[in-house]
Symmetry: C2
Subunit: 401 residues, 2 copies
């Protein structure tokens, strides 16, 4: 009884469609461990809640609302982009105060590579200060850029959203005899994992051209490929990562108020196509639904999101700390995978790019990429609606006294 | 037997998520009238197919593919923005030649207010030239701006897509403690019917502010309302019609290549917010999925799309011509409606705006608007997927000899 400690879970970085499914998995598993846990808590807005003592009692939430977390995009507990300073900073004493006040013994950090830095720093600090608190990371990012893990939770669903949106774009582009160039802008500042998903679509539904940051970028080559495609079939759909290395094109672009243009790569390139090729062009930025669409969630992704949360709870209670749960693929067909642990500090702040030998050219990626992604986007989820709109969890978020 | 004529159907104007459901309804009904019809044809790319003799035989399509039309967005037969010239133009003789070649006696025009001009002109021409061809219109436009009809087929589904996208946007905007201003750009050049749909969302999921073309637009008022909302709650989600009357703001905006900026209203206003209020702002243009999303289709809309196609076939065979099928609402709760005919020429080229007494202010529309739209967005549709992507019809499009 005296050894009972509470568990606190928090969300960090950009939201995804399934981060709250991991929260569901954590709460559901933690409830099975009432003998070992004195409370199941949430820290509001990531590590900020630990610093400011904004800790809520997840045990007081209605079970119906907890179940609805599975179809609730966004970050149900609020997120943060706050990064922890170096150990020794007085801020750590605020965290220690919160931990003592609520008898916290276990922390789960659900986030991406910045958040794994938080996970690693907290674990190191607790170890070094002989504070008996264990910390584990649950991977989450639509960018799929975390090292070691086969893929990141949230990526398969975002990839599925991208595939379906690109199919809509191609259907729309084909409607007219005299078409346009359609530039589709897809998330991914450093990597092309999401944009590459378009390559899985079958012939006739696939974008004609795919540009990823890993490929570099030549404006002349781009214009040549767009023109050749347009001349051949009367329209052209190109999928482009927002993070294409084209600073040289954007440089100095200011809007009419004189400040740095808010235009993305596609709007800038649409201007180039207009002026240099004289072809009508429109842009389509996939935008927020990539991380917030509850419909095109992959059943595989949701299931893994839930199970990885449960796995993290069990490993915390076994005494593991400073690790992130990773997915190790055992087989692609049929798809089989297991969860393993890897040190959070070797994952923190680093970026996994698409392997060079998976890239082929702007018309087609390699078979290896398709074998990798195909099993991850399978399976549809049921979504409950009310008055035509998807239902979401309404949590009470009652502070722990 | 000698009186048997063929029916030709075509699609015109912007695609919607359910225009192909009307095609499904037309084909299914027409097949029941084998005694009266010598063929069930489609004209490719709208009236262009009649001009260029590109007529395909819908009777040769596989019934499985015809059924898949119900979940196929885009224009399965291709669309057009071509407008017919004044009667007397030699082009009408080309149409007459196609009609004689294929023994066409019935034409269905599926489109919006430009397309009803085509419908009216064709009917007038055939009447005046004693050509025995009947022409009826089937309403289709996500803009909901057709006169007389209670609503346009396609609008309820697009409105439902807008509502769900706005809910995603609000969930995303709330994720961080220190939020941004999020400007959501929604289709509607002349009217705010689609943007107004955001008003149906419940408190806490609704955009904070809604700007419609019918309300006029004052930049100072806009900036004041955004600032007040942001100061109060730390973020602000505003839904704006692409057609806001703000030419005075866009005027003279050119990009760094010196040509007219491709920026929409939201990007232009984001610049104003940055420079005048100094608040971080992002934009989210709902873009193509508003007319191409097969998922957030309203069951009411799809059902009406199918039944209105069938109704149009029956009325053609009864000898009606020069009319558009309209929806007359009998009751909102429970929702009941019937189909009636109205002259296409009084609908052609005109625009139905939101009634002035349905507008209230940028925070809330009137109850009348909500009573109007609520029954139309009800009901979900089942969508078949394959490898994580929605399935669509693949038509053979075999030319009639």
């Amino acid at each position: 009884m005296e050894n009972k400690k509470s568990l606190v879970y928090f969300q960090s970085g950009g939201p995804t469609a399934v981060i709250n499914s991991s929260l569901f998995g954590v709460v559901t598993e933690a409830k099975k461990h009432a003998k070992e846990l004195s409370g199941i808590y949430g820290s509001m807005h990531g590590v900020e809640g630990l610093i400011k003592d904004e800790i809520i009692d997840l045990g007081l939430e209605d079970s119906k609302e907890i179940a609805l977390l599975k179809q609730t995009p966004g970050a149900a507990l609020g997120s943060t982009r706050t990064r922890l300073p170096a150990e020794g900073d007085p801020l750590f004493q605020k965290i220690v105060a919160t931990i003592r006040r609520h008898n916290i013994g276990y922390i789960l950090v659900n986030g991406g590579n910045d958040s794994m830095d938080t996970c690693a720093r907290l674990a190191r600090f607790f170890d070094a200060s002989d504070t008996n608190v264990k910390v584990l990371g649950i991977p989450k990012t639509i960018d799929n850029d975390l090292l070691i893990t086969d893929h990141s939770i949230g990526y398969p669903s975002a990839a599925k959203h991208v595939m379906n949106s690109l199919k809509m774009a191609v259907l729309d582009a084909k409607a007219y005899r005299k078409g346009k160039v359609l530039l589709v802008e897809i998330m991914g500042r450093d990597t092309g994992w999401l944009t590459a998903a378009g390559d899985l679509l079958p012939e006739g539904e696939r974008p004609d051209l795919i540009y990823l940051p890993e490929m570099g970028f030549s404006l002349d080559q781009f214009l040549g490929e767009v023109k050749a495609t347009y001349d051949r079939q009367g329209y052209c759909v190109a999928a482009l990562s927002e993070g294409l290395p084209m600073a040289h094109i954007n440089e100095g672009r200011v809007d009419s108020f004189g400040h740095q243009s808010l235009e993305g790569v596609c709007l800038a390139l649409a201007g180039c196509i207009s002026s240099r090729l004289g072809i009508g062009t429109r842009t389509f930025e996939l935008s927020l639904p990539q991380r917030a669409d509850p419909i095109f969630v992959s059943a595989v992704d949701r299931s893994e999101a839930i199970r990885i949360g449960a796995f993290a709870v069990k490993k915390l209670l076994e005494g593991e700390t400073g690790q992130m749960v990773c997915i190790r693929r055992l087989s692609s067909s049929p798809y089989r995978a297991e969860f393993v642990l890897a040190p959070a500090e070797i994952i923190a702040n680093k970026v996994k790019k698409i392997p060079a030998d998976w890239l082929y050219d702007t018309r087609r990626l390699s078979d290896s990429f398709r074998q990798y992604l195909t099993p991850l986007v399978q399976g549809e989820v049921k979504v409950r609606c009310e008055n035509g709109v998807f239902k979401t969890a309404h949590l009470r978020l009652i502070p722990v006294k």
